[in-house]
C-alpha cells in the first residue's frame, strides 16, 4: 500500500504528512521546555539562599554552543545536498553533524563528572565550603587515615595489609615452631584485606552494641553493616539467650492448662538444653509462633525478619485481646444501664483495657502466669566483637550526633551504642569532613546577618572557619585579609571611574559575589601573589589572576602549579559542624536540580536526534535510489528537530552559564 503525501503536499494545507507531525511534536516540546524554563525563573526569584551566579565553567558551554550552531549549519547543508541529489556531499555533512553531537555529549560528560567529583559543605553557621574531598582508609589496627587522593589511600591500605599479614604470619610461625608443628602460611580467611578507600564525608562509628528495630530495620543498611564487620574481621552476635513469643499458648499455656512463670522458666531451660545439643548455633523456632535466639547468634537480615514475624503476630494477638476486653467492658456497661445512650454512660463507666492488661504485668514488665497478653520484643541487640569502625553515611543518621552522646540513631531506628568503661568502644569516632578547599562562599552568612540587622563583615569574621577552633584557621584568615584588601581596591577603582552620586554614595560598588565569595580563581591568584611576595595594589598583582578560560571544567586539583603553590588549602570540618554535605548534584540545591533537569533533558534530545540522523546516514541509500525526494523530506523533518535542539541550547547557555 502506498502512503499518500510522503512527497507530494496535501491539498488542504500544502504540507507533506511528516512536516505536520514534526511541528505538532515541536509545539509540545515548546510547552515542555517552556514549563521547565519557568520553573527555573521562579526557583531563582524565590530562592531563599544566594543563587549560584555564573557558577558553571564557561569554556565547555561556549564550545558546545559553537558545536551545536555548526551542526545546525551542516544539517541544513546535508538537506540541501539531497535536494540537489549530491549523495556524497550529503554523507559528509551528515557525518559532521553526528560528530558534533558526539563532541557535545563528551563535553557534557566531562562537565557532569566535574560536578559529581566536587564536594560542597554547608557549615552550621551557613558558610559554604567547596572543594575536593579527601579519601580515607581503615587500617588493620582499626585506625582511620586521611589522604588527598583515592590512589594514595588505596596504596596506604595495601601497604598496611601487607605489613599486617607479615606480622601475623611471623607470629603464627613462631608459635608453631615452639610447639614443633608444621606451618604452611596463613589461610585465606586469616589474611587482612585492604579496605576500599572511601570519601571522607561520612561519619565513623565504633559501636559496642547495635540495636535493630524489628519493624523498621532497613535491609540494605543491615547488610552494609554486616559486610563491613565481616571485612574488618569482626562479628555481630547476640549477647544473651533470648526467647521471643508471638503465640499466647507458647507463653502462658492454654486456658484449661495455664502455665506458671516457673513452668515457663523450666520449659525454656529445657529448650536451651535441647538446642545446645545441635552443632550450630542458630535461631530456633518452637511452638506455634515463637523463637529462641541463643547467645552468639550471628546477625542476618533473615533473622531480623523471622523475629519481626513473631513480634507482629504477638502484637496482633495483644491488640485482639485488648479489643475483646473492651467489648466485654461495654457489654457490662450496657447491662448495668440498659436503654441509655453510650455518651450518657461515658462518665460513669470504666472502659479501660490498658489498666486491666497492666494488672497482668508485674513491675519488671513481665507478664504474669496465665496472662492473656505476651511480652513483646521489638528490638534485637547485637554485640560487635571486636568493635571495629563502621562507615555510616550522613544521610542515614536521624539527627546530628554529638561527641558526648556516644550514640547514633539511624533513620530506621537502628541505634549504634558506645560501651561503658575505659576499654569499651568509644561509639562515635572523630570523623571530620576533610577536603582541599577551592571556594568559600559567605553570601548566605551575609544574608542571614542582614536579616538579623547585623553587620555582614562582622558576622563573617566570627564564623567558624576563621576561629581558633579551626586548626587551619590561620591559613584562611590570611587569605581573607588579602581578599578584603583586593575588594577594597576594586571599590576604590569603581569610585575613581564612576564617581559618587549627590548623596555621596558610590555609583557602582562591588557585587555580593565579589565581596563574600572567595572563588577558586581567588585562591590561585592569592597563592601566586604570596609566592611572588605581592599584595593587592602592587604592580603586577592583577596580572596574576587566572583568566576565565583557565580551568576547563572548574578548579583543577591535579594542576602542577596549583599543587606546588598549595593554592587549595586543607580543611577539616568536625562532623557536628556540618549541616549539609553533598557533591554538586541535584541534592545540593534547587539550582543544581534545575541545571541537571534542563541540561539532562536537552542531552537526551541530542542523543535522540543523533540516532535519527545516523539512521538517515547509514540506512537510507536504498530509499535515496528509489525516491530521493522522500529521503530529502525525512532529512528536513529530522533537521527541524535538530534545529530545535540547537534553539533550546541557545537559551540554556546564557541562562545557566552566564547569568
Amino acid at each position: 500500500m502506498e502512503i499518500p503525501h510522503t512527497v507530494t503536499p496535501r491539498k488542504d494545507n500544502g504540507l507533506f504528512n511528516a512536516k505536520v507531525g514534526i511541528w505538532l511534536f515541536l509545539a509540545s516540546e515548546v510547552m515542555l521546555f517552556g514549563g521547565l524554563f519557568s520553573a527555573y525563573v521562579f526557583m531563582r526569584i524565590y530562592a531563599d539562599y544566594p543563587w549560584p551566579e555564573r557558577a558553571l565553567p564557561i569554556v565547555p558551554g561556549l564550545i558546545n554552543t559553537f558545536v551545536l550552531i555548526g551542526s545546525s549549519v551542516t544539517v541544513v547543508f546535508a538537506w540541501a545536498s539531497l535536494k540537489m541529489r549530491q549523495w556524497r556531499r550529503f554523507q559528509i555533512f551528515m557525518a559532521i553533524t553526528i560528530a558534533c553531537a558526539g563532541i557535545f555529549m563528551v563535553l557534557k560528560a566531562i562537565e557532569y563528572k566535574a560536578k559529581w567529583d566536587h564536594q560542597a559543605v554547608r557549615v552550621d553557621d551557613f558558610t559554604i565550603v567547596e572543594g575536593h574531598v579527601h579519601y580515607a582508609t581503615i587500617l588493620s589496627n582499626g585506625k582511620v587515615e586521611h589522604f588527598h587522593t583515592k590512589k594514595e589511600a588505596q596504596e596506604a591500605g595495601e601497604k598496611d595489609a601487607e605489613t599486617a599479614n607479615k606480622v601475623a604470619e611471623e607470629k603464627v610461625t613462631t608459635a608453631a615452631k615452639e610447639k614443633d608443628e608444621e606451618f604452611d602460611g596463613l589461610g585465606k580467611a586469616d589474611l587482612w584485606k585492604a579496605g576500599k578507600p572511601f570519601k571522607a564525608n561520612v561519619v565513623l562509628f565504633k559501636p559496642e552494641t547495635i540495636d535493630f528495630s524489628l519493624v523498621r530495620a532497613h535491609e540494605s543498611w543491615v547488610n552494609a553493616m554486616l559486610e563491613q564487620a565481616e571485612k574488618r574481621k569482626s562479628r555481630l552476635v547476640t549477647a544473651r539467650d533470648l526467647f521471643i513469643y508471638g503465640d499466647i499458648e507458647d507463653y502462658s499455656g492454654t486456658e484449661s492448662e495455664p502455665m506458671s512463670s516457673k513452668a515457663r522458666a523450666e520449659q525454656e531451660a529445657q529448650l536451651v538444653k535441647k538446642f545446645a545439643m545441635a552443632d550450630e548455633k542458630k535461631d530456633r523456632k518452637f511452638g506455634q509462633n515463637s523463637l529462641f535466639i541463643p547467645a552468639g547468634t550471628l546477625l542476618s537480615y533473615t533473622l531480623l525478619e523471622e523475629a519481626r514475624k513473631v513480634f507482629v503476630a504477638g502484637r496482633a494477638h495483644n491488640a485482639a485481646t485488648r479489643t475483646t476486653i473492651l467489648k466485654e467492658n461495654w457489654k457490662k456497661v450496657k447491662e448495668k444501664w440498659p436503654g441509655d445512650k453510650y455518651w450518657e454512660q461515658a462518665s460513669e463507666a470504666r472502659i479501660d483495657a490498658a489498666t486491666q492488661l497492666d494488672e497482668q504485668v508485674d513491675e519488671a514488665g513481665n507478664c504474669s502466669a496465665g496472662s492473656k497478653v505476651v511480652s513483646l520484643v521489638s528490638t534485637l541487640s547485637f554485640k560487635m566483637d571486636p568493635p571495629q569502625p563502621l562507615i555510616i553515611k550522613r544521610s542515614w543518621i536521624k539527627r546530628p550526633v554529638k561527641e558526648q552522646d556516644g550514640k547514633a540513631e539511624l533513620r530506621d531506628d537502628t541505634s549504634l551504642n558506645a560501651g561503658e568503661g575505659e576499654d569499651a568502644a568509644p561509639g562515635l569516632l572523630e570523623s571530620p569532613l576533610a577536603l582541599s578547599v577551592d571556594a568559600i562562599d559567605f553570601r548566605w552568612v551575609a544574608q542571614k546577618a542582614e536579616e538579623a540587622g547585623n553587620d555582614p563583615m562582622e558576622m563573617i569574621e566570627q564564623s567558624w572557619i576563621f576561629s581558633k577552633a579551626n586548626k587551619n584557621g590561620s591559613t584562611y584568615r590570611k587569605i581573607w585579609k588579602v581578599h578584603k584588601k583586593r575588594i577594597g581596591q576594586l571599590e576604590q577603582r569603581l569610585i575613581d571611574k564612576y564617581g559618587k552620586d549627590e548623596e555621596g554614595k558610590p555609583r557602582r560598588v562591588a557585587t555580593e559575589t565579589d565581596r563574600y565569595r572567595v572563588t577558586w580563581q581567588d585562591f590561585v591568584h592569592y597563592a601566586r601573589a604570596e609566592h611572588d611576595a605581592l599584595m593587592p595594589g602592587d604592580s603586577g598583582f592583577d596580572d596574576l589572576r587566572p583568566k576565565f578560560w583557565n580551568g576547563f571544567a572548574g578548579p583543577n586539583h591535579k594542576d602542577e602549579e596549583i599543587h606546588k603553590l598549595h593554592a587549595f588549602p586543607e580543611l577539616e570540618i568536625p562532623h557536628h559542624k556540618v549541616s549539609m554535605q553533598s557533591m554538586f548534584t541535584p541534592k545540593w540545591n534547587t539550582y543544581y536540580a534545575i541545571y541537571f533537569t534542563l541540561t539532562g533533558l536537552h542531552g537526551l534530545h541530542v542523543v535522540g536526534g543523533a540516532i535519527v540522523l545516523s539512521y538517515y546516514l547509514f540506512f537510507s541509500k536504498g530509499l535515496y535510489r528509489r525516491n530521493p525526494e522522500w529521503l530529502a523530506n525525512r532529512v528536513e523533518v529530522g533537521g527541524l528537530f535538530w534545529h530545535f535542539v540547537d534553539l533550546v541550547w541557545i537559551f540554556l547557555f546564557p541562562i545557566l552559564y552566564l547569568m
Binding site: V20, W23, I650, M659
Partner: protein
C-alpha cells in the same frame, strides 16, 4: 521556500552567513558577561546584563527559526501550530506565576505577607 535545486544552491550562502552571525552573537554574549569594560548596568551581573543576554538569545533563536527552520516562508498551518504551542507555554508559565502570587493564607502572616511564618505560629500556640 527554497525548493528547486537552483534556489537551494543560492540559499546555501544565506545559511552560511546565518551560521556566522550566530557565532558572532555567541562571542558578543560571552564578552558582555566576561570582559569588564563591556559590563553594562551596575558593576557585575545585573538585570541589564540579563536583558542583553536574553535579547541576543532571542535574536539568535529567531534566526534559527526563520532561516534554518524555514519559518520565514512557511505554510499557515505551521504558524497556527507554533502560535498555539507558544501561547500554551506562556499560559503554563502564567499558572506557576499565579501560584506564587496567590499564596495560601495561613492566618499568621506578618503584616499580611500571606506566607507561612513558623515563629508566629509558635507564638500563637
Amino acid at each position: 521556500m527554497a525548493d528547486t535545486p537552483e534556489e537551494i544552491k543560492k540559499a546555501q550562502k544565506k545559511y552560511l552567513l546565518i551560521g556566522l552571525i550566530l557565532f558572532v552573537f555567541t562571542v558578543v554574549t560571552v564578552s558582555v558577561a566576561t570582559v569588564p569594560w563591556l559590563d553594562f548596568g551596575e558593576h557585575g551581573f545585573d538585570a541589564r546584563d540579563a536583558t542583553i543576554g536574553l535579547v541576543i538569545a532571542t535574536i539568535k533563536a529567531g534566526l534559527v527559526g526563520a532561516i534554518f527552520m524555514h519559518l520565514s516562508h512557511e505554510k499557515k498551518t505551521i504558524y497556527v501550530l507554533i502560535v498555539i504551542g507558544i501561547l500554551m507555554g506562556i499560559f503554563l508559565m502564567g499558572l506557576t506565576g499565579w501560584v506564587f502570587g496567590d499564596p495560601t493564607e495561613y492566618g499568621n502572616s506578618v503584616e499580611g505577607d500571606g506566607f507561612y511564618n513558623p515563629e508566629v505560629m509558635a507564638e500563637q500556640h
